[in-house]
């Protein structure tokens, strides 16, 4: 199984350790993983701002980089959701369709494709609050949603449940957006920061030592808010926990 490792731009720049953990984790499960060097970004920032034409060339580059892989896996629900559900600026060729359907967010790839049944190397004896990115939740459906009447499920919870010592704690508004919202975080910074601070308080009140998510973007924002509030909560990507990294 040839897997193209998709490392979103902000992970590349701010959280290289998340890319490393994703790579190592996939290799632990026997995947043949390539990192295409010419990758940049998925094009979401432009599309998110309404500038579809401006994201066309970036989307085309993405497809050129990843079209030859069986699967494309990235540690970010938001970016993967963009590729799978919003890659509309490019002409819908067979390559584009292949890339759209074969791009997976790490958690769903482990859960649905590799169907992993354990992380024997992983131990995390801490109280952890889970944050599901809104695109991963409502776009990729990695968990059931509180707004809908549906059977309860959660792919990230299933995976975290296999980690020794890890204790999940519940926050009061689990589905509430943390306010990152891509370019929203800078164009509407006041509301964005307020939402993030409310989220960070909710997590701290729940007694979480750590917050984890399959998306670093939300956590980068939440961590910044928590620090501003002098909260001791730490933020760690789910790939690092599942990869059994010491903290």
């Amino acid at each position: 199984m040839r897997v193209g490792l998709f490392v979103p731009c902000y992970v590349d720049a701010f959280h290289p350790e998340v890319g490393q953990a994703t790579l190592e984790l996939l290799e632990r499960f026997g995947c043949e993983v390539d990192y295409p060097f010419d990758q940049t970004c998925c094009g979401q920032p432009m599309t998110n701002t309404g500038c579809h034409k401006e994201s066309k060339a970036t989307e085309e580059l993405f497809v050129r980089n990843f079209k030859d892989y069986d699967y494309i896996v990235g540690p970010s629900g938001s970016c993967v959701n963009h590729v799978r559900n919003n890659f509309d600026a490019v002409e819908q060729t067979d390559d584009v369709k292949h890339v759209r359907t074969q791009t997976y967010e790490l958690v769903e790839f482990l859960h649905d494709v590799l169907k992993v049944d354990g992380f024997p190397w992983a131990e995390f004896p801490h109280k952890v609050a889970l944050h599901n990115n809104c695109n991963a939740l409502r776009g990729l459906n990695i968990a059931s949603m509180t707004e809908l009447r549906e059977k309860t499920f959660s792919k990230p919870r299933d995976l975290l449940g296999m980690v020794k010592g890890l204790e999940l704690v519940d926050i009061t508004r689990p589905d509430e957006c943390c306010g990152f919202g891509g370019t929203f975080s800078v164009f509407e910074e006041a509301i964005s920061a307020r939402m993030g601070q409310d989220k960070a308080r909710d997590q701290a009140r729940a007694g979480a030592e750590y917050v984890t998510s399959s998306d670093s973007s939300c956590m980068m924002h939440q961590e910044g808010c928590a620090k501003r509030l002098n909260l001791p909560t730490k933020y760690i990507h789910i790939a690092q926990i599942l990869n059994g990294e010491p903290v």
Binding site: L23, P45, C51, V186, C225
Partner: protein
């Protein structure tokens, strides 16, 4: 910050009257975090400057700077969302009902001509006089004409978003008609010269101390008594005589049933019945999208409306008005006001399915922290973001950006409008028609060019310690400073993933 607005020739959104008494123009003071003593002043809505794009965030900041208002508003609406969730959980076929409701609306909106004519025919047969209005002005003039013909000087009315859309109260003031709102929340808003901030709970942004202040200035209650029972009683004592001596009554319409020619109005206060039945003249304003085929389909919507809106199984009153009472008159004005045009918009026509339950507002994290008046438009919150630009693309061009597009609104919508996707579509339409700020467009063009070229992109982040410069260029350009107003900067690692990979594994990807 907002004190400068006091002297500017501006009107805070929701203030329907330029000549509001000076004592009421305390909105400017809301940016001051806390007064030395006494209740926290009510933050006012967006500053409306003619046709200029609304600055929703500016108003939201003032709302968030009022901690008591913010906490109450957020918690109150979140409670409604939770009650709604509990109701949803009691109904096994909830998701089927949503689909059914959505399908019924699709069917009706795609056969609108047939159903509207059927409705007109049946209502006329019931003894109702039906009139058609193409826009707000025509609606107001038809109603003014009916009132004039009856020499009616005082009109009591129940809550109707359509009349808000039509600027109805101002038009009636010009026509010399005294309008009295019979919905308590709407009455509070009327007395305070503000628009409703929410389609279901119009005064939800007000603390009871705000209401005490409004009542003390308008109906003479004790300014220091904010006891809820006291305030309600004062209002009742003041308004009942006005209602009982009114000349005409008016209601909106939740559902217009084509099969029976009847209109259905849902209230919790019974004030639609009061408005309709107290006088000998009942006028109903109906938007063309309110039509549904028959009583069977009505049942679907009645099951969903109040559950979605307030988390109660049903409204206290579901009133069916079929025709005039003996000796009385009933008129229905069917209003287009931009709806036909919206129906022709490929990406946005399903917004006409909206039954005005407000569930999208209750769940919206931006709305709960901003207050409905921050949107400076008739319709606030998620549904407003996709409807308002159909009325005025320039003035409301900023609104679709007041969202994180998290999608919760779409999930709670009882008629399954894909609200967050339409918000995204509006951003695209606005960007393509030059209705987004030039700096955003320039920034996105630059980002698009940079990100399409691996060479340029890598060159823009050559050194580890320049990652700080990298983020501004790519995501936020020179607006970086906004990040740190409410947050700390992310930690900057020594090397990028790209550099790490190259260093440890080489260009061919083999482990070193």
């Amino acid at each position: 910050m907002s004190l400068e607005h006091q002297d500017a020739p501006t009107t805070p959104a929701g203030r329907t009257n330029d000549g509001a008494p000076a004592s009421l123009t305390h909105g400017a003071g809301a940016s001051v975090t806390m007064p030395p003593r006494g209740p926290e002043p009510q933050p006012r809505g967006a500053v409306v400057r003619g046709n200029r794009p609304i600055d929703q965030e500016e108003a939201a900041k003032r709302f968030m700077a009022a901690p008591e208002h913010l906490a109450m508003h957020d918690q109150r609406l979140w409670d409604l969302r939770q009650k709604r969730d509990r109701q949803k959980d009691t109904i096994e076929e909830w998701e089927e009902l949503r689909q059914l409701a959505s399908d019924i609306k699709t069917h009706t909106l795609t056969h609108l001509d047939t159903y509207l004519e059927q409705f007109e025919k049946n209502a006329t047969a019931n003894g109702v006089k039906v009139r058609w209005a193409k826009d707000a002005a025509e609606h107001n003039s038809i109603v003014a004409g009916i009132l004039r013909s009856k020499n009616a000087k005082r009109l009591i009315k129940s809550k109707s978003m359509l009349t808000e859309e039509c600027g109805f109260r101002e038009a009636m003031a010009e026509a010399g008609v005294d309008v009295v709102e019979t919905d308590l929340g709407e009455r509070i808003q009327q007395l305070d010269n503000e628009n409703p901030s929410h389609v279901v709970v119009p005064a939800v942004h007000k603390l009871r101390t705000d209401v005490a202040e409004v009542f003390s200035k308008t109906i003479g209650s004790d300014p220091n008594n904010s006891d809820v029972s006291y305030l309600t009683e004062q209002q009742r004592e003041h308004t009942r005589p006005l209602i009982l001596n009114a000349d005409a009554g008016m209601t909106g319409c939740n559902f217009a049933v084509a099969e029976t020619g009847s209109v259905v109005v849902c209230t919790n206060e019974g004030n639609a019945d009061l408005s309709a039945n107290t006088t000998g003249l009942h006028i109903v304003s109906v938007g063309i999208e309110k039509i549904i085929p028959n009583l069977n389909t009505l049942a679907v919507f009645v099951r969903m409306l109040s559950r979605s809106a307030l988390g109660s199984p049903i409204t206290q009153y579901t009133s069916h008005f079929r025709g005039p009472r003996r000796g009385a008159e009933m008129h229905i004005v069917i209003v287009d006001n931009g709806r036909t045009e919206r129906l022709g918009m490929e990406k946005f026509w399903t917004s006409l399915k909206c039954i005005r339950c407000g569930a999208c507002m209750n769940t919206c994290p931006v709305f709960r922290r901003s207050g409905g008046l921050s949107y400076g438009a008739t319709y606030a919150g998620p549904i407003g973001l996709i409807i308002d630009p159909t009325f005025n693309r320039h003035k409301y061009s900023t609104l679709p950006f007041s969202s994180t597009m998290n999608g919760s609104c779409t999930n709670v919508c009882p008629v399954k409008i894909n609200i967050h996707e339409q918000i995204a579509s509006w951003r695209q339409v606005l960007a393509e028609t030059h209705e987004i700020p030039a700096f955003k467009k320039t920034m996105m063009k630059a980002a698009g060019m940079l990100l399409a070229s691996p060479k340029l992109y890598r060159a823009s982040l050559p050194m580890a310690d320049s990652a700080l410069r990298y983020l501004p260029r790519f995501v936020i350009y020179n607006k970086m400073n906004t990040w740190t107003r409410g947050r700390e900067m992310p930690h900057i690692p020594k090397e990028t993933f790209h550099q790490w990979y190259k260093r440890t594994r080489g260009v061919n990807g083999k482990k070193k």
